[in-house]
Amino acid sequence: MTTHPPSPPAGLTLPSYERPSGLHPPLDSPGYRSTALRAPSQPLLIMPQRLTEITGPVLGEGRVGPADADLTTQHAGEPLGERIIVTGRVLDSDGRPITGTLVEVWQANAAGRYQHATDTHPAPLDPNFSGVGRCVTDSEGRYRFVTIKPGAYPWRNHPNAWRPAHIHFSLFGRAFTQRLVTQMYFPGDPLFEYDPIFNSIPDPKARQRLISRFDLNLTEPDWALGYEWDIVLRGSAGTVFEEQR
């Protein structure tokens, strides 16, 4: 049993984080069939942010090995496919870089196949590609991965359903409120308009923010194409919310 002093300390002042409305996909999104039995039916209860919410795990270098940021060098041979560099900054909406934070990624291989027991897509596995990466952001909030461009793949959501090529990203930020798992897409994918997961985001402009940007300056000659994608996590409450693009 817990014992504690009879009265709380005075003057406990905590940061507070904005609460975006209409940004994330509705949990009940009928176009994505798996939401039908998994989306809660009761409305979410508003919970004030207190100590547990404005803190979060500090997960840095200890979680990352030397080869974790280069998904093309984790095996004896090189994986097949188009070698790419994916980099960008993790920021909060106040524009502050989130430094020293863990970024985790996972993805399909170049043929659109995940190295997972339940992926039955009849496309080849690549013995030289696991599709898992981790890194920690630097002093400017920047992350950088070297990987293979993932392939599109079919799924059973509806007839002739295909996911646009994507990389899954997991972000912690500095507080429990900022935790985010999302997907990064590639510019010009013809599958965007058919994908109920991409289109579950209500605002078409917000969908565009999940699409990386090809950058010739990040592209390394004779070696790999470069894509840039910044991730913006919740900032302080009271931030004026403006569309950037």
């Binding site: 406990l12 975006p20 039908a36 998994r38 909406s93 524009g95 917000a206 969908r207």
Partner: protein, 192 residues
């Protein structure tokens, strides 16, 4: 203030187990740590079926109610930053999860009063387009639970009970809590 537009969420999909589990994820502290408790349960869908492709993440204070975090205005914990406070466990084919940790302390609340010992929980799964957030409280903290501001804001006692882990057969080191995403006895989820 630049007011950058936020990045929206997407589902973890069916293959989160490629990228997110850690070998030591479920053990916030090693199993043989004095005072360690286990919290187990199952993640269920709207038909009561187990969810085998989910992930449970927990975040909590240390036994003194402290966080090794720069935004905790009370300063560094007495025992340093050794306590990770964070757990993550992928769900098994039967929907089960298991977290080994230390019992968190009570927390002072900025609005006065105290929060009862609790863990914040994020649930991820295929079919969840954003994480859902809930809490785990402890059945043997009845007095603290009765005064807790989050539990007190839930008017229906049956709904409140969806957040309270029960001690198994009176063993106050082994707690159990089922997380139901939808339907009868649906767990209370929060907008934080």
């Amino acid at each position: 203030m630049s007011g950058l537009a936020l990045t929206p969420s997407q589902t973890v999909g069916p293959y989160l187990s490629i990228g997110l589990p850690w070998p030591d994820g479920p053990t916030v502290v090693p199993e043989d740590t004095p005072g360690a408790i286990t919290i187990t349960g199952r993640l269920l869908d709207g038909e009561g079926a187990p969810i085998p492709d989910g992930l449970i993440e927990t975040w909590q204070a240390d036994p003194d109610g402290r966080f090794a975090h720069p935004d905790d205005p009370r300063g560094a914990p007495a025992h340093g930053a050794a306590f990770r406070g964070f757990g993550r466990c992928p769900t098994a084919p039967d929907g089960s999860y298991r977290i080994v940790t230390l019992r968190p302390g009570a927390l002072p609340s900025p609005d006065g009063g105290w929060e009862a010992p609790h863990l914040d929980v994020s649930v991820f799964a295929r079919g969840l387009l954003d994480r859902v957030v809930t809490r785990i409280y402890f059945s043997d903290e009845a007095e603290a639970n009765a005064a807790d501001p989050v539990l007190s804001a839930i008017t229906d006692p049956a709904r409140r009970d969806t957040l309270i882990a029960t001690a198994e057969a009176g063993d106050q080191t082994r707690f159990q809590l089922t997380i139901r995403l939808q339907g009868e006895h649906e767990t209370v989820f929060f907008d934080v």
